[in-house]
């Protein structure tokens, strides 16, 4: 049941219009971070306030929402955001990737291929890929405007000189439509190749007050070198629950004696595979 005390999807209409204008500009300039007047949300920063605001501005009453946190539908962050929209927007929710029309995600892209009719909303902690290389916003703005991305390649090169390979494993920088270098949010680099998808991808960073987007079928290239090409790595195991050899795995420590198991990070994917066998 919708909480009648709130406007549809919690935010007031003027706030939604402001976010919607930012989303349109973000789609028009793929990978560019559009500033927006992020609001206080009834959850702490770091819990997806940016993603929640983007979802609130995007949802219609007919939508079916799925929320995942590191691939899982049943973790605290996912459950609380799903309940939030059940109460304030009255939308239907689901855990099945294929049934969802809007998917809000923290740090994963679902294993199942997304379709034209779906929208993927990412929660983003630090939207600026150059932030840890250059702390000044005025400078990073200028670097983006001049396509001055050499520093990012130096960072990847230092990975190679220290570790013999590009050791950056998540939030692996990408270049969108041949122009802007973008932080894909802290998804594992295993997910990077999936970003060239049929669905619309929207990114919301609440604390940092930025929205950016990747339209469908947009070229998304992970930065690399000719002699050290990008590799989408995963743990060298199969899922101990469903046997999948193609999914991204979580390593779970089972006891104090070094026992461990590897399981799919995407709970819906793992569950669907086990159902199919049973």
């Amino acid at each position: 049941m919708t909480e009648q005390a709130y406007n549809f999807a919690y935010l007031d209409e003027q706030t939604k219009r402001m976010i919607r204008r930012a989303i349109l500009k973000a789609l028009a300039v793929p990978g560019y971070q559009v500033p927006f007047a992020s609001r206080e949300m009834p959850m702490p920063y770091g819990w997806g306030t940016g993603g929640v605001q983007v979802s609130a501005a995007t949802l219609t009453p007919e939508d079916r929402l799925k929320v995942i946190d590191q691939g899982a539908d049943d973790t605290t962050n996912a459950v609380s955001i799903r309940k939030f929209f059940e109460r304030t927007a009255g939308v239907a929710t689901t855990e099945a990737t294929q049934e969802a029309t809007v998917i809000q995600t923290r740090h994963r892209i679902p294993e199942a291929e997304l379709t034209e009719d779906q929208i993927l909303v990412y929660q983003v902690p630090i939207p600026e890929p150059l932030r840890f290389l250059e702390p000044r916003e005025t400078e990073t703005r200028k670097m983006h405007s001049l396509q001055e991305y050499g520093l990012m390649h130096v960072k990847l090169y230092e990975d190679i000189s220290q570790h013999g390979a590009i050791s950056t494993a998540y939030a692996y920088p990408v270049r969108v439509a041949g122009r802007y270098v973008m932080d894909p949010s802290p998804i594992p680099k295993f997910d990077n190749p999936k970003m060239e998808m049929a669905a619309i991808q929207l990114f919301g960073a609440g604390r940092e007050q930025r929205i950016y987007a990747v339209p469908p079928h947009t070229r998304v290239v992970s930065l690399d070198f000719e002699d050290y090409p990008f590799e989408a790595t995963r743990a060298d195991h199969v899922c101990d629950l469903c046997g999948a050899a193609d999914s991204y795995l979580d390593e779970v420590i089972m006891d104090d004696a070094g026992g461990r198991m590897f399981v799919c990070s995407d709970t819906d994917y793992c569950h669907t595979r086990r159902e199919a066998v049973a």
Partner: protein, 191 residues
Amino acid sequence: MDGSSLYAGGFRNAPVDAAHAFRAAMTAMARPGDIRPITGAEPPAPLSVAAGTLLLTLCDPETRVHLAGAADRPEVRQWLSFHTGAPLCGADEADFALGTWADLMPLSRYRIGTPEYPDRSATLIVECDALANTGAVLSGPGIRDTARLSLPDLGVLQGNAMLYPLGCDFFFTCGDRVAALPRSTTIGAEG
């Protein structure tokens, strides 16, 4: 003018109507060439339903709107002010501009953003007599291979795309349908 039409023609259920309209507008912007139905507003003539709905969905006291040519009528101004509170302005200050292609031109009057903030550019809502998936060949972000869209002036729009990442973005409206052309789209002549 008839007093009733000034207040009439707004969203019946603002949050839901605006959500549906925005979804249509966003999908159009994300998939250049896609033509989507968009309804909810009943604006005074000569505005189309699609153009009126876009204005109600995106404009408020924080956005400056330029009404070009035939769209700049007292009925439209009053309707827009009553329903959105958006201040009217000249073309060079506009966040949104509305009119026919001929009335909106020349394109050089509009803001194209700055190198650091390319989002600070105008969005043009272009009223069209026809809207069809024929004519110019579009490619780029949001388009799987190529798409086609009836565009008013290839040369001007190609020039706008050359400014990328700066430039204006466009909605094309006809009746209750909308299509969009972001600056990121590569435009080829009919082939």
